[in-house]
């Protein structure tokens, strides 16, 4: 369990993190989403124990991470500008990391390099950007960390590599209860791998939720009527937005699917369809419900 307790961090007169509080359960794959400059990287660095927060703290199973090498040995952080030893190849990096991480598996790093089709004897600096990302991921996984942090690491991987990386993450989570925190500015990169999502905006967590719960609680409804009902409202259902044209309406409705179906069925529509929302649509709806202009959050 990672617990982030009212963490604040200021650089000069810029408030990068403003009392961020969140809990990330063991074995979770947590997606940290936010626009550029929302504080994602700063939060990851504080979580990795690289930056000291001005106030608040980050605890791992109850132990604060700051100045605790024993905790940090169980954390692997892949920054968005990955670091490799100058002029080195994959094997040299793996050997170096194995001097820092007690569980480091150099053989595993080489196995993964072959799975990714990466030449293990070529200098990493000569790799393409995408290959360097893959290298950073495999070097991190081979450390067998309890907590793995990825800063925009998934963005820009090609579909085949994404599939391999997803399988590797799934394996580590299932076998060792690894916890992963993946920061990204793109919801689409996170939708199919994460079980929890947290949205960071202007240094604060706007909301945090289980993805399946989010998805099961919000629906798009399309319904056509012979005569439009005068009033579409129901206790227990939350109508986020209703737009209509003629006798046809489209609504975003919050509530249990069964309750939504039952309510609309009671209005005897000529046509009715319930469509699950994409994560992106859910975010836009949630943002609007919180009074934010969604346009500025998502590209």
């Amino acid at each position: 369990m990672i617990s982030i307790q009212s963490v604040a961090k200021t650089f000069g007169d810029v408030q990068s993190l403003d009392k961020v509080t969140a809990r990330i359960g063991e074995g979770s794959i947590f997606g940290l989403i936010g626009s550029n400059g929302s504080g994602k990287s700063t939060l990851l660095r504080v979580m990795a124990g690289i930056l000291r927060p001005d106030t608040g703290e980050v605890k791992y199973d109850g132990i604060p991470v700051w100045d605790r090498p024993d905790v940090k040995k169980r954390i692997f952080y892949i920054s968005d500008d990955q670091f490799f030893l100058p002029g080195s190849d994959i094997l040299e990096n793996a050997r170096f990391l194995s001097s820092l991480y007690p569980n480091y598996d150099v053989e595993e790093a080489l196995r993964l390099a072959r799975a990714f089709n990466l030449p293990e004897k070529r200098k990493i600096q000569s790799f393409s950007k995408g290959m360097q990302k893959q290298t950073a991921i495999l070097l991190g996984l081979a450390a067998k960390p309890d907590w793995l942090f990825c800063d925009e690491t998934f963005d820009g991987l090609d579909p085949v590599m994404r599939e391999i990386v997803k399988k590797l993450f799934a394996r580590e989570v299932a076998e060792r209860k690894m916890t992963a925190v993946i920061a990204s500015h793109s919801l689409r990169e996170l939708e199919d791998i994460c079980d929890h999502i947290g949205l960071l905006h202007k240094g604060g967590i706007l909301f945090e939720s289980d993805i399946d719960e989010l998805k099961s609680q919000l629906h798009t409804v399309q319904a056509g009527f012979e005569k439009l009902p005068e009033r579409i409202r129901c206790d227990g259902l939350h109508f986020v937005r209703i737009t209509g044209r003629g006798n046809f309406i489209t609504a975003v409705v919050g509530g249990e699917e069964e309750a939504v179906r039952a309510y609309f069925s009671s209005l005897s529509p000529l046509y009715f369809e319930l469509i699950p929302l994409t994560l992106e649509e859910i975010f836009i709806a949630e943002m609007e419900a919180r009074g934010y202009d969604s346009g500025s959050f998502l590209e």
């Binding site: 074995g27 979770s28 794959i29 599939e163 997803k166 399988k167 799934a170 394996r171 989570v173 299932a174 076998e175 939708e191 199919d192 791998i193 994460c194 079980d195 993805i211 399946d212 998805k215 099961s216 179906r261 069925s265 000529l270 046509y271 009715f272 469509i275 699950p276 929302l277 994409t278």
Partner: protein, 126 residues
């Protein structure tokens, strides 16, 4: 279990796709009563999806009494799935009602529908 297909681009949540896929396998008899389901780990690696999602889907199927879990041994198709089947009747009939409704809006003749039902009914006899 490789018959289960997950479409990550689909709007339907992966969790629901999983439940539906496994349910289909069980109700169609492709997975026999008592048969072991793949482990969470194996299925997560095979389908490249989050193990927590699979865990949740198994819990949901267990709640529906389609499968049962023995601690340390894994999950198995329930010996008797008939009680679980009843729960789907309502849903299936609702889907059918909606389909009939739509067919009528598109002026499809009633005879055509009944003919289709008769044909499908005979065609899917075990």
């Amino acid at each position: 279990m490789s018959n289960i297909r997950i479409d990550v681009k689909s709007r339907t949540p992966i969790f629901e796709q999983l439940c539906a896929g496994i349910r289909e396998e069980i109700l169609s008899g492709a997975m026999a009563p008592g048969e072991a389901l793949p482990s969470v780990r194996a299925l997560a690696c095979e389908l490249a999806i989050n193990p927590n999602t699979i865990q949740k889907a198994y819990a949901e199927l267990e709640r529906q009494k389609l499968i049962s879990s023995a601690p340390g041994r894994g999950s198995f198709v329930s010996d008797d799935i008939r009680p679980a089947m009843g729960a789907f009747e309502e849903k299936i009939l609702a889907d059918l009602r909606a389909a009939v409704h739509r067919a009528r809006l598109c002026s499809i003749a009633k005879e055509k529908l009944t003919e289709l039902i008769d044909k499908e009914w005979e065609g899917t006899k075990p």
